[in-house]
Symmetry: C4
Subunit: 277 residues, 4 copies
């Protein structure tokens, strides 16, 4: 597509950078939160786990809602956004459907946040619904992308279809969490794929809408396709290294600090934890 | 396809409105029934649950059989239906295969109803077969649609292929219910997808066969495709909001009425339930 | 394809009728065996189940081996078969690859029979391997068919691709049996798909190679495709009705005969069983 | 592609023979290791299993790392390799992307080895992460192959796409092992698919890059495609026969030697084991 306007390029770049940052933030947060809870459980023998982490889940849900609202407002009210107009009666055409699609994507993440918050309300929402709703939100994102890219140039199509691996992989993993709740392996998998999505959104922005100008990539060069494929997996390798680093930091932190706290609380739990270290 | 006759349009519209209404009815019913049973179990500690709900399951099975028979008769005996003729010897052609396909779809839902009823008969049908049969019926619907749309105009194809997401998603969820019976999360998921199917059948009717005339949609406009994709997920968002509303109404109802009934029945169960509220 | 020779038509017809009969035989046998075991268990409280049914499993395995050997010999040594020649050095071409493919299919069912027999040998093969091997055999059949039909006329392709639904559905169900062994629902599902495969193989034979001559079907007529799709699901509906009939016959038989045998054996088991009827 | 240089042919042949040997080695090793552990457990009643086999797992992880490093170095520093150059600024092209792709594949197997080793370090990595990481490595291999073969001649495409059956089948099986750890059926399945991958890599080398010259295969002959499909499944049949042979050898070995060792250790365990034989 011929992007004549400098402004459109920046808008599109930011349209990828914003969700990328959201995913990255959540991924990094999960890569610290879940190991921390895991070590804490090992020390405390699963006795008084729920209180602190339930509060965290509610805050996470609220953050999702806030991010989703920011995303929706940004997509609607940027200068060349649809400003909530869907159909132009004069021109008999739909208005800025791309922005509406992104709005739809944010909407489902917002709904997922709502279910997260309701889960810890007095409504006694069945456990697992929050995971199912998150999985649905990720599936919706995946389907929207799938239909979104059907009629695009080759490189554009390919770079988005690689994202689908992360999206559907993540959606499937979260679906398993409905039935295997609090499974640390699945939670770390989710975190790694969220980081991957985050960095890949940024990468898409840089490849398709280079923010500092410069020549665009040749969209039909087969070698570019091959490189982009590899590059995607290098992103994942990087995400895995970040996960390992965060895991080790958390391990070191929980060994040195959490245990001291527990020691001062109860002598008995200290005896158990010493056999663990 | 050039639909010259006003009658054909109405027939096709009704052909989508009828199954749409059936799915909507079942979806809404499930969105009330399962939360109600869930709250009831919480109060009653799963002790005397089965009696009332087993009877409901038999009635549901009977309703499925009746709906399926209505659907089959409607498809066969509408004025331009096949009237049970399958092959025309004179013209050496098949007769009204579209109606026969819809008949086949209803047939499997009818069989599912039969297995539902047999499950609570003295035949002691193994638990889970009813869910498997329902899953098979939904899969059959999905495969029929899949082959049905292969050679249609783009918009027609797309609008039906979106339905396949709801159909195969539902079939997969019900398959899980074979092994995870009475799982409230899966049951609510089933309810939400049934509502989605119901409203989407109506939407298909309105888009492809506008009942009040008016210009037909441009079937090859890519923007229409994009809008329809989004529209599908808005339907699902609406279905989820209906689910949440029904859940809350049921919660309020069961809190105020069910508990009083239980209180009058046994003092002991009241003590438990008060700790739950 | 122009089938000039009457002989080739018969050969091809028989090539579909033979495996069809094998599948049908196994499907019908399973539709009686599993309900019988299920009722027997209900009466006997799972106490002395394994002895009789283990012997049956060994016999089944042996039957599989025999059928597979018959199938392989038939494919190789029919008058226009390859007679174990694979490559013709003179003509520099492969010899009768179709027959070799069918031989391969039978080979894996034979291997599945071998593992069945070994499971009850003193080798102590881990339970579940027999199911895995059967699942692999069905998957291999599916993949062979999948690649087999890629370059055929439309009707031929379609009629075989419908078979893939039964094949991959069955392979997936048997895969689940690795982990959920002796699950009556999965076993009945397997039986129903085996019957479907059996009757559909016969149907393919009649459609593509009409044994009593007559005009061949128009392979490019879209209405034929639509009819064949429906017809496939009618076969499944018929298979389900056969399953229900066999289930009821078995129920009636086990109620009247099995219980009397148990009664004469032990008075205690009779008391339990009477509460079951 | 016209391979004019004799050297390129040998390089490509070796590029398939090297990973083929790695997979074959691991597959054969697993086909001995897991039955051995299984028999050992049967004798020892699962009491002191972990010690010896944990050490083996660490050694396996180290072997994976070493193999991955060898593979990466070989791909980078063969005479016509990229020597770590990724982009040629002068020619404005990517350098030897094929070798870089293979390097990426080895990288993930290396990461899997790292997680294997970390699992038994004092870091207390959650059990299951090692299997997940191996599954991810196999999935990455699969996706790389999938995109790798999109624009190749028919036979090349087909012969690699058959490999995908083994790759994705294996990845899926290993994914199940995350949740069903130490399941002997899944472990034997993994071993059989590793052997299949190994021999098939060699086969690809012989077909596409005949090392002793000779005429290349006709890449567009449909009969070659059909033969190759069958051939793939014959490889699997051979892999299964190797598995059965290794199983029997292990059985015989563990019966004659392991039991004597146990007998000399404890008299009690002998009593149990004698009832097992």
């Amino acid at each position: 597509p011929c992007l004549t306007s400098r402004w459109t390029v920046m808008a599109n770049f930011k349209g990828h950078a914003l969700p990328g940052s959201f995913f990255l933030l959540f991924g990094l947060w999960w890569s610290v939160k879940y190991p921390l809870r895991y070590f804490n459980e090992k020390v405390n023998k699963k006795s008084h786990r729920n209180h602190g982490y339930q509060r965290l889940d509610v805050i996470e849900g609220a953050a999702k809602i806030i991010f989703a609202v920011i995303g929706m407002l940004a997509e609607q009210f940027v200068p060349d956004g649809p400003h909530l107009y869907l159909y132009s009666g004069e021109e008999r055409t739909w208005v800025k459907l791309m922005n509406w699609q992104h709005t739809t994507m944010y909407l489902f993440y917002g709904l997922s946040g709502v279910v997260d918050v309701l889960t810890y309300s007095p409504l006694k929402v069945p456990l697992g619904l929050d995971r199912l709703m998150l999985s649905v939100a990720v599936f919706v994102e995946g389907f929207l992308f799938y239909y979104h890219v059907l009629h695009r140039p080759m490189l554009d199509k390919h770079i988005h279809s690689l994202l689908l691996i992360a999206v559907f992989g993540g959606a499937f993993g979260i679906l398993l969490e409905v039935f295997l709740r609090d499974n640390i392996v699945l939670e770390l998998f989710r975190a790694s794929l969220a980081i991957l999505q985050g960095t890949w959104f940024w990468q898409i922005g840089f490849v398709l809408f280079p923010p500092w100008g410069g020549p665009a990539w040749n969209e039909e060069d087969h070698d570019n396709i091959m490189f982009v494929t590899m590059c995607f997996f290098w992103h994942y390798a990087a995400a895995l290294l970040i996960m390992i680093a965060n895991y080790m930091l958390t391990f070191w932190y929980s060994r040195n600090f959490l245990k001291k706290i527990n020691k001062s609380k109860t002598g008995i739990s200290y005896i158990h934890s010493s056999s663990w270290a």
